[in-house]
Symmetry: C2
Subunit: 492 residues, 2 copies
């Protein structure tokens, strides 16, 4: 093997880091908590972004771009939002460096270039955007505004992890403005559905849709909807959120519109986002001890072809056959790579593309050529099969679809096996410690109990599932009456 | 007219701002020097970005993403680069806000959350990238690295203008690493050609390719190549730059590779970029007193269709016809909008889409329907023509190509008429003041004379054109001997 990976059993956390680093997705950087997204990781993000972007546009949204910086006075306007993010903001205070007189060749912050008002590097853009919308909205005819932004944001997290929690990350944030509460709620739910569709059908990752408790709500939201996924270590990952913001930002920034009866009303808002964090979830949900396993629909390389030859003459014959095949696959929009780099041996390449999670690997040798076959290896199941060249094109298309489906089913079975109903505190703790996964339990509905459970168990309420069943029961901690079970888990 | 635009004659600068704001491309923001790119402007940028991105990928480049922040110690490592950007850097000094005890509901920078080392918000990414490349490059087998990044950057300019010069802007920055000087120079020139190809053939804007003088070179470069375009007011605009960085950054960050003979060598570098500034150039080069004129190949809307009707019955008949037409055009990948919003009258819409620079406008009324024709108006020449419905599909495709070509030719004729050879200082000044445009003149080759000319005339050397003709002459300022003319202009 070219690169050693720690096994999941040995150290799940190190296994994850190994995959990210050795799979070529990302790298640490010289900036605390910030990562470099390497070309292979970025190609994956581009594929995810392009699909999402199309989904947003198909649902009537347009892209725009708002400033990176938020003046402090705007940032603090919506108090709950400001309070929620104040502790993790990078702050620009100066606009110039100068030569350091005491340190030749070095620079220092020029004390004379202090900003009159500090600028917050956006941790999220509600404030700067609603301050802008004020100028765009006068009448109901200006509504709805359905805008999305692809951007970098900064949240100064104390404990960071590649992709899952980084000081800077890439995301999209939708910010919509509506004339009625109903329309805003419909939008919030619609975008949750878009996210669930994307994560399930493109990332092959089953999710549970639900709403957050008040404790876990986005700062400044009236209601936060979320999708929750399950990782292989039994911990949950919040994969996307969609917020109904009520009129909170409209009131903070005084954004009113005149309705059809010429009455002035505050505007209703939503915001929704997913980020490069999704890549972390993708890696943790699907991969194995040999490396990444990427879903075909978003894999940067769907098919890799490795030639096996001894002589230049053999190589030439293989090249000829492969070039035809590559062209056929490309016509069908299959992302294919022919790796005939002669600096590496086939065995090394096999391990390398397993590490990188390429869904299908083709190996072609001189004898295969003579028999008009190739050897096909699936990354997800490791199964190998000899397939006739003549049916290869269709075979590969079908296999990509099969792998996508298989990955989803495998993740769904795992997830379904890791949802446990419990009725007592002991069961709750035992399940979290042993079975792991989602634990479905009664809770008395108070923030205090939720906080206490978190303190004692390190588990949080991931969500109250949409269309949750009513069921009388007793809170696992306080024994007080409860009307429904909610979904707990330890989470990333 | 729905919106008043200042004429070019009256106030060129105000005309420009009117177009940007009223054409819906961008808006001022609450952050000094930063703008909001509105959906229509962003759709234009997306089209430009997508074409460029494909060109980069077709020439072997891949995308990646590096941190927004550059620690001061890395920033200052390449001294010339640091010196060049030190005066315009936004600096992050703190990572937390807290409640202001003297000001209820307000926040203040938490003095206890001061960073040990200040972070520079990237004005350009050579430093952070070369510090990263150090970890990626050991051997000649790791080279070349051909990476591009799409990102936001911040340069704290004192005088800003929408798109042309903003504190934050969007751009792409290519950063490549090579094993030989020759290969790096070939890359630098190749990317200049890509830029010229894009600006001429997609933005319909003729450019002159050349190299910058030492004074105008990118801070840290050995050679800066550029493309220069001409605006309608006779001022030049630098539209893109491609830098040969030599081994400067490799030396600053100690990035060496072992060559085929196992000898350690410093790596050779290039960087190249274009930004949202291009949109400013596009607007200033092509537009007229009625609004924007966008080149069809990158226009967000290529064809707008406006129905003209009195009764609902007429409207229904027009709808039916238009829906078929819209589908046909979409099949041919034409970006078409049917504006049947009944809140606005046709005349208002005509003015609005003229303002927005939509290349082709179709108007269809009940009588047109009866005659099986539509009225087609070209934005560039304002010509109108009645065209049979039956030939519309082909007609529109051809017309889009014709408009694209006509816009380029018009801009090229204007540019060519505004290149003047002069031999004396008086001619130089007279030409700059009256004819305007590029002035081709002898210069003695010294930075001092160049600086003096700039001081006296406000004109800078835009470039020494590639393949410049050798010609003996005398410097327009000092009379000293010169071997070639160089291209001067007043510039944005």
């Amino acid at each position: 093997m070219s690169k050693e990976i720690t096994s999941r059993q040995q150290d799940y956390s190190q296994w994850y880091n190994d995959l990210i680093l050795k799979g070529g997705l990302a790298d640490y950087s010289a900036v605390r908590g910030c990562m470099v997204i390497k070309p292979y990781g970025f190609a994956l993000w581009e594929n995810m972004r392009d699909v999402l972007d199309k989904m947003f546009k198909d649902t009537g949204h347009v892209n725009a771009y708002f400033p990176l910086f938020v003046p402090k006075s705007l940032f603090e306007a919506e108090e709950k939002n400001a309070e929620g993010f104040a502790k993790e903001c990078a702050i620009v205070t100066h606009y110039r460096l100068k030569a350091d007189p005491n340190n030749k060749g070095k620079l220092m912050v020029d004390p004379e270039a202090k900003l009159e008002e500090e600028l917050v590097v956006r941790p999220t853009s509600e404030a700067i955007i609603w301050n802008t919308y004020k100028g765009w909205i006068q009448s109901y005819r200006d509504l709805p505004i359905l805008v999305n932004q692809w951007a970098n944001v900064v949240r100064w997290e104390m404990r960071t992890r590649l992709f899952l929690r980084t000081a800077e990350f890439l995301w999209q944030e939708g910010h919509t403005a509506h004339s009625t509460k109903e329309e805003a709620i419909i939008e919030t739910e619609k975008m949750l559905d878009v996210y669930a569709d994307f994560v399930e059908n493109w990332m092959a990752l089953p999710v549970i849709k639900g709403i957050k408790t008040a404790n876990e709500r986005f700062a400044g939201a009236e209601e936060t909807y979320c999708i929750e996924a399950l990782m292989q270590d039994g911990k949950a990952l919040q994969a996307g959120t969609s917020h109904f913001l009520g009129q909170n930002f409209a009131k903070a920034f005084d954004v009113k519109f005149s309705d059809k009866n010429n009455k002035l009303e505050y505007v209703w808002a939503t915001s929704w986002g997913v980020s490069t964090r999704l890549i972390g979830g993708l890696v943790m949900a699907h991969s194995d001890d040999d490396g990444l396993i990427l879903p075909p629909k978003i894999a940067p390389i769907q098919v890799v072809i490795v030639p096996i030859y001894k002589t230049e003459n053999e190589k030439a014959l293989i090249d000829e056959k492969v070039n035809t095949l590559v062209n056929q696959l490309k016509v069908n929009n299959i992302r294919v790579k022919y790796d005939d780099n002669d600096n590496a041996r086939p065995g090394w390449k096999f391990a390398e593309y397993e590490m990188k999670g390429v869904p299908i690997r083709l190996a072609i040798g001189a004898r295969d050529l003579a028999n008009n076959v190739v050897e096909i290896a699936r990354r997800d199941t490791k199964e190998k099969q000899s397939v006739s060249m003549d049916e290869l094109n269709i075979y590969i298309q079908n296999l990509l679809a099969t792998i996508q489906e298989n990955m989803f089913n495998k993740a769904k079975n795992f997830r379904d096996e890791h949802i446990t109903n419990v009725n007592t505190w002991d069961e709750f703790i035992t399940t979290l410690d042993n079975t792991t996964g989602f634990v479905n339990a009664h809770w008395d509905g108070t923030p205090e109990t939720e906080e206490k459970i978190k303190e004692l168990s390190k588990a949080t309420i991931r969500c109250i599932p949409l269309n949750n069943k009513e069921e009388a029961g007793n809170c696992i901690l306080t024994g007080k009456p409860s009307k429904q079970r909610v979904l707990f888990a330890r989470a990333y």
